[in-house]
């Protein structure tokens, strides 16, 4: 991953474009595979799929290194992939297998890889906001140049932790980027219903920090805005609220009938507005990648996802003793 500051899409290298496109495809195909396998009843528990929001996770994480931290949500698969978590380990975790990133003890809602700076998907709405502040505080106290990114949904912006966390990051000028994935829904309630505010980025004015709303379906828009925010954070200029307007292709959870969605909007989200199709168009138009090169990347991602599924299906369940291991470091 790159470390240069204030990277913008117009300067994007072919190598970077390939990385970004691959990650977006990995998320899409990973989630599509989980969707299909879950429907067959082969994945236990709850899953919340990220498909449709790829431009946000990838556009932001493209500016991060393994030393930077991210906090995530219950819809965390996309953040994990964008932050470099291993696909086999992720899929096996969702299958509840011993080879999973968390030895099968976390599952879809708690996939984590601290070695990659991925501080965990989180089953509690709003929980990741203060956690990101803590990672930012560590960076400040230890005087590293690292940043912390908090991915959160529009639903979490109504939670007290949002305001507590943004306020603290602001008064302490911490290197934290609050990335709101405004997908228009908190569970089955619309943003318009649940939030009195009509913009989450506007809270930035109140807390006297930088804030911006971008088209979260446009990779280049997210990439540019995140590049600026990360550069500011690394320079010690404090936090940013980056609101990315997006849409989730699937339901809140798998099995959700999605009766609250507008059919036309849903159709547009997966066609004209689709983040991957739009980025493909951008890459072709600007002659960064050809149609053949894109097809090649799609195929190699498909092979990787197929391999992740095979790996997971063939992996053993955790040993019985794992029920009570890892409760404490020492006890």
């Amino acid at each position: 991953m790159q470390t240069e500051t204030q990277a913008s899409a117009k300067d994007m290298t072919v190598e970077k474009a390939k990385w970004i496109y691959t990650k977006m495809q990995e998320i899409r195909q990973f989630e599509t595979a989980v969707h299909e396998i879950f429907a067959k009843g082969e994945i236990p528990g709850f899953v919340h799929l990220y498909a449709g929001e790829e431009a946000v996770a990838v556009g932001v994480c493209a500016h991060l290194t393994d030393n930077d931290s991210i906090t995530s949500t219950h819809r965390g698969h996309g953040h994990c992939i964008a932050k470099g978590c291993d696909l086999n380990g992720m899929m096996a975790e969702i299958y509840g297998r011993a080879t999973g990133l968390c030895k099968g003890k976390g599952g879809s809602m708690h996939i984590a890889d601290v070695s990659k700076g991925m501080l965990g998907a989180n089953g509690i709405v709003g929980a990741g906001l203060p956690l990101a502040v803590g990672a930012g505080l560590t960076a400040k106290v230890k005087k590293t140049n690292d940043v912390a990114v908090c991915f959160f949904g529009d639903g979490a912006s109504n939670h007290g932790t949002f305001h507590e966390a943004v306020n603290m990051a602001a008064i302490w000028k911490l290197p934290v980027i609050f990335v709101c994935e405004n997908n228009g829904f908190g569970e089955a309630s619309t943003f318009e219903y649940a939030a009195a505010a009509d913009s989450i980025a506007n809270f930035a004015k109140v807390y006297k920090i930088a804030g911006e709303t971008v088209d979260g379906k446009d990779l280049t828009a997210v990439y540019d805005a995140a590049g600026k925010a990360v550069a500011r954070a690394r320079k010690g200029e404090g936090p940013t609220i980056l609101e990315c307007m997006t849409y989730r292709d699937f339901g809140h959870f798998e099995g959700d009938t999605q009766s609250y969605k507008d059919k036309e909007k849903q159709q547009k989200a997966v066609t004209d507005d689709d983040a991957i199709l739009r980025f493909q168009g951008y890459l072709k138009k600007n002659k960064i990648l050809s149609a053949e090169e894109i097809k090649g990347l799609d195929d190699s991602v498909k092979a990787a996802i197929d391999e992740a599924v095979r790996f997971s299906e063939e992996s053993p369940f955790p040993d019985d003793k794992e029920v009570t291991t890892d409760v404490y470091v020492s006890y």
């Binding site: 968390c102 203060p130 956690l131 560590t138």
Partner: protein, 344 residues
């Protein structure tokens, strides 16, 4: 070399010793220094905590490591959890344990679960210092003893020091422990003086202390109730009954062996706890002993606790609310039979 200091000074000393030893130790909480960015204070602390326990620490270590937070428990507790997970050893002060209602998620669902949920690959070396205890006329929202709530949650360690020596050693153990630990400071003990070791020392978790030996009755006293137990033991001794008084010092882990071995010897157990009785530490200890040492019991286990009621404000009511030596003696007389008890 031992020095005489108060329970409060022992806490202050432990924090300084830890912060000198390791730059990753930070102190974070509401007004742990106080007066941040007030020009005329020139970075001196205003309070050092609401009871002055952490006074002077900001002057030694500066505001980069002694961090006053907004009154936003979810926010700063969550930040402390993640600061721990990303490389610091925060000491996070929850001013009163009653305020856990504002940040239980950060402790219960985040700190306690990272190590397990992430397959042992994350650790949260976080110490939460918090004030508990009734007897201060602080009423229902500033007087509870909520250690059972934390003991219930796997992944958290719970420490209830009853004296200055234990406080310093247990707090230092907590700070350098790799798991989240909640250390309870009974506000009524802050002024208590005692011998404390100089410099760095630790007391291991899960090791109870037998405060008084005896063969007729085991009394487990939690936190400051160990003193109520000792007073009752003195009174019972005058009647010819020798009670063994145990201070468990930590509730999670709990030194079951010391308690059970004592009960095997005495055949009788009273647990003294000023917390609520339902689903409490006292009830838990009673269940453990009932389960593991039933055959050694000569009488039903008795619990001398607060009633199932919030802590009242009015001083006479609060006095009624608390365990007393007399309540312990009454419980014992029921256990041995009034006739036996009054015959001696």
């Amino acid at each position: 070399m031992a020095v005489k200091m108060s329970y409060s000074e022992a806490i202050n000393d432990a924090i300084r010793v830890a912060m000198r030893k390791d730059d990753d130790v930070i102190l974070i909480g509401e007004d742990v220094a106080g007066g941040a960015e007030v020009d005329h204070l020139q970075d001196q602390g205003a309070w050092g905590g609401v009871f002055g326990v952490t006074k002077g620490i900001v002057e030694e270590f500066g505001r980069d490591r002694v961090i006053d937070t907004p009154i936003a428990e979810s926010g700063y507790m969550g930040a402390a959890v993640s600061a721990a997970a990303t490389g610091l050893r925060p000491i996070s002060e929850l001013m009163f344990n009653d305020f856990i209602g504002s940040c239980l998620d950060e402790v219960m669902n985040q700190a306690a679960k990272f190590h397990y949920m992430f397959g042992g690959k994350a650790k949260v070396p976080l110490t939460i210092r918090t004030i508990d205890g009734a007897g201060f006329n602080a009423a229902a929202q500033h007087s509870q003893s909520l250690y059972a709530l934390f003991t219930h949650i796997p992944g958290i360690k719970v420490v209830i020091p009853s004296n200055p020596y234990d406080m310093k050693g247990l707090l230092l153990s907590a700070i350098f422990d790799d798991d989240p630990v909640v250390v309870f400071e009974d506000k009524t003990l802050y002024g208590m003086k005692g011998e404390v070791g100089e410099g760095f020392y630790t007391i291991p978790f899960g090791k109870a202390e037998i405060k008084r030996a005896g063969n007729d009755l085991t009394i487990v006293g939690l936190g400051k109730q160990v003193y109520t137990a000792l007073k009752a033991a003195d009174k019972l001794a005058k009647k010819g009954f020798e009670a063994e008084v145990i201070d468990p010092r930590t509730l999670s882990p709990l030194d079951e062996d010391t308690i059970i071995n004592s009960v095997k010897k005495t055949g009788r157990l009273i647990i003294v706890d000023e917390a609520y009785p339902r689903c409490s530490a006292a009830t838990d200890i009673a269940a453990i002993v009932g389960d593991k040492a039933f055959d050694y019991l000569d009488a039903p286990i008795k619990r001398v606790t607060a009633p199932h009621a919030p802590v009242p404000f009015s001083p006479p009511l609060e006095k009624l609310y608390m365990p007393t030596p007399e309540k312990i003696i009454d419980a014992f007389s029921v256990m041995v039979g009034d006739k036996v008890f009054s015959a001696v």
